[in-house]
Amino acid sequence: MHRTTADGSVAPIRPADSVGIAFCGVRKAFGDVLALEDVTFDIERDSRVGIVGPSAGGKSTLLQLTAGLLETDEGTVNVEGATTAAGRLARCALMPQRDLLLPWRTALDNAVIALENHGVPRSEAREKTRPFFERFGLVQFEDVRPAQLSGGMRQRVSFLRTLMAEKDVLLLDEPFGALDSITRAQMQEWLLGALGDVPRTVLLVTHDVEEALILSRTVVVMSARPGRVVTILDVDVETEGHTRREIVTSREFVALKESALEAIE
């Protein structure tokens, strides 16, 4: 399979295996605090996987390891064949917990920053990014600074910025953790649509079991510190053509939620 990259060239043909991300015996400690221990699981290419677990359970650490921002103490993280930190960094885009929009740049100029880093001239990067503002419900807010945007809009700009990096792997770290529950529900629905458009490997960290079940096809439940994989659940709830309310109150969904919550305890 070919994929066109940011600069228009064609990426090399992918290796035959279908593993997107593989964690093998991963251990990570910060000083005396053991954040992760013996984490082993695989994520299929182009799948959506949610990681849930109690707060401070090393979930963010797992994402940073995947992104190549950290190195493991033991074990390996393999992202589409890359095991070095630099190699992983080149393949992953991380959407941080805080929106981290640059306050001196407008919404549009925040969204184009990855393209700019890749050497695309700013005017061209803007033209390429502008259409997404319509799809993301951000029209007329292109030239507004982050301070004037609502929390939900800031998260959408932050997501767009991550998306525009055009990486194969998207890592989302509690993307809606800072939002109120109503906005959060709207954003989950929106993200579901946005992710449907771009088939990529998505790894989503959240402490909200419901969010993980709605947004992913597979849910990895992790324990409190040190983080270990407790169980892995396949989400086989029919979502097509159903409203959010119908989904979250369906029998399969409630049963899955119960087993996930049970695993966390």
Partner: protein, 279 residues
């Protein structure tokens, strides 16, 4: 779906309430009115004090006496001296701003250099400029150069220190974010660290702006034939105290004007930053 909700909530800028914005004048009054009233009260007491106790003008001139000196001496002494000092202050400050920001950037980008130079830089500040000034005059002569060097030396330090701190204290999360978006070291500096440090750089420059006039006076005292420092030096043995006060007043105005200019520049260049350091 969520878009229209957000549109409504974002239409109103944060911090903007339904309360009517106060007019320009009432805001100016709230900002500076109290300071102005306080100064007027002090001047009144001063004037009365001199008048009641018959304080001789060479010891303490009254505010009205200073005003008269300002008017009479403006043409022959004060105005020409003011231009000389103003030039020293502005040029010296400009040199310090360029060199200070430049050194802060270099020290930030090359950590070993920072470890080597930063302690020396702080040590250099313990050398009293008053002692250094005559040596600089011997080295550089009676012209404008020793004054520029002294003004620049005094202004340099707060700009470098605030610059280095501002660059170093940029949130690591921003830098991590940039790394996942494939930014090079230089791109991180140019797009995140430098703009992020601008508020801090400007607060260093505001502090430096208040020092610049003092530097010019030190320089002129150590050897000059013009400038407000020179006027003060000449007036002292002649007991022309009112003229000294008038010169000090002008120096204060110069310092405040430079402070205002820096604040204005900050407002233009860093419009996104939270406001602080108003006069």
């Amino acid at each position: 779906m969520s878009a229209d909700v957000d549109l409504r909530s974002a239409a109103k800028a944060p911090g903007e309430s339904t309360r009517r914005r106060p007019s320009r004048w009432s805001r100016a009054w709230r900002a500076y009115g109290l300071a102005g009233a306080f100064i007027l009260a002090l001047l009144g007491i001063w004037e009365l004090w001199v008048w009641i106790f018959h304080v001789p003008a060479y010891l303490l001139p009254s505010p009205s006496g200073i005003a008269v000196a300002l008017k009479n001496d403006w043409g022959p002494y004060l105005a020409p001296a003011m231009w000389v000092s103003l030039r020293e202050v502005l040029l010296g400050f400009a040199i310090a701003a360029v060199a200070g920001v430049g050194l802060a950037v270099v020290l930030h980008l090359f950590a070993p250099l920072r470890r080597a130079i930063y302690p020396i830089l702080i040590g250099s500040q313990t050398i009293p400029i008053v002692v250094l000034a005559p040596i600089l005059v011997i080295l550089l002569g009676y012209g404008i150069w020793p004054k520029l060097v002294i003004v620049a030396l005094i202004c340099f330090f707060p700009i470098v220190v605030n610059g280095v701190d501002g660059l170093r204290l940029v949130d690591d999360d921003f830098i991590r974010m940039m790394r996942t978006l494939d930014a090079t070291r230089w791109q991180i500096f140019r797009k995140v660290e430098f703009p992020g440090a601008l508020p801090s750089i400007f607060s260093g420059m505001r502090v430096a702006a208040t020092f610049a006039a003092i530097g010019a006076v030190f320089g002129e005292w150590s050897g000059a034939s013009a400038g407000l420092g020179y006027v003060i030096q000449q007036a002292t043995p002649n007991l022309q105290t009112a003229r000294i006060f008038a010169a000090i007043l002008i120096l204060t105005v110069i310092a405040m004007a430079l402070f205002g200019l820096v604040s204005l520049l900050e407002r233009l260049l860093v419009p996104w930053a939270p406001r602080g350091g108003r006069m």
